[in-house]
Symmetry: C2
Subunit: 234 residues, 2 copies
Amino acid sequence: MDSQVPRRAVALVSGGMDSATALAITTQEGWRVHALAIDYGQRQRAELDCARQVAAAIGVESFDIVAVDLRALGGSALTAEIDVPKDRSHDEIGAGIPVTYVPARNTVFLALALAAAETRGAEALVLGVNAVDYSGYPDCRPAFLAAFEQVAATGTKQGVEGAPIRILAPLVELTKADIVTRGTALGVPFEHTLSCYDPVEMQGVWAHCGRCDACALRAKGFREAGLEDPAPRV
Amino acid sequence: MDSQVPRRAVALVSGGMDSATALAITTQEGWRVHALAIDYGQRQRAELDCARQVAAAIGVESFDIVAVDLRALGGSALTAEIDVPKDRSHDEIGAGIPVTYVPARNTVFLALALAAAETRGAEALVLGVNAVDYSGYPDCRPAFLAAFEQVAATGTKQGVEGAPIRILAPLVELTKADIVTRGTALGVPFEHTLSCYDPVEMQGVWAHCGRCDACALRAKGFREAGLEDPAPRV
């Protein structure tokens, strides 16, 4: 491909700080990015508003929401009425797969991004996964991403006809502190991101609970980066 | 696992003859099957009714429909307003990937089946794909299925914790005639299956057009098996 023609990518955006930073890195590298948010029946509907705000602030070619009703399948604290764990230590967070795991979530998300990439003529899927300071989800690790690239290569018209679709996971080897530092340098609007599994609405904005695993990892990242988190907290 | 305990599988059912036969083979082998139909915004809504009727006739543990709006992504004659090709020869059908290809459809379907399998504690996904007399879709071939099994092994809680989820594709090496013969022997209610990409409603039932690629492959199967197709035709 002519290097003067910007290449297209489809970036999954969740409203959280990781996907926002991955999106900013990808656009800064010169990709033309189509943002895709998935409405999977998450209890935290505010995530989709955050995803839209963040994508608009960073600048994308398009922003779409695709709905898939994972609630019909149940099985996670993020979609069903199961309590979100609170006040766990960093060691506890890293040990085992928690109840906030949504069965096959990233597989479903990447499958939808793959469908979007084929219709958009995109060459890459962008995912803000991170396998260092993470919640122990299996579908955030490099082995999973490599396996999915094979699915894209063998199972799509585009892959078979000679233009394989890669997965870009620019955060996979970073710590949360690295992500905060990098995102801040790129001007990611962290004040509009929402990481919390159990946010509280305060005067029309969503505030982080400060106690779930996602809040604990986020706080650790800002603390170790020596920066203040601009997002609202209870 | 104790061989006396029936193992669980999640079978994708489309309302067509292939998934119906795959379902019948799997239940006959002693699996406890949860049927899963995907409402992906297909133009032919009758498919979902057929899927439900067929699953009930064959006998399943459960029947669920999960909705995912692939129409939002466009790109196929099966979801968008693109004409379905008619009156193509068998050689034309086998050459290249047609406009009825839905981008990444089987990847999306398997991803949803994988999510269902994890919540159901199932060990297998059943897919009625066939790579002999087929429409040239890349996501029907063994290389794709093997790649997806790796995704299941690396990207799910169940895969990581030691019980990998297999893909059963009992029709993958069969001809359409083999499928007709096998399905008829197992009592598959072919009269309730709908293969057509462009069916016509006649007196309250859906009749096959007889001219699209799917109808051509179906007719070839019944002809070569020496059996009469019991499903209505225009």
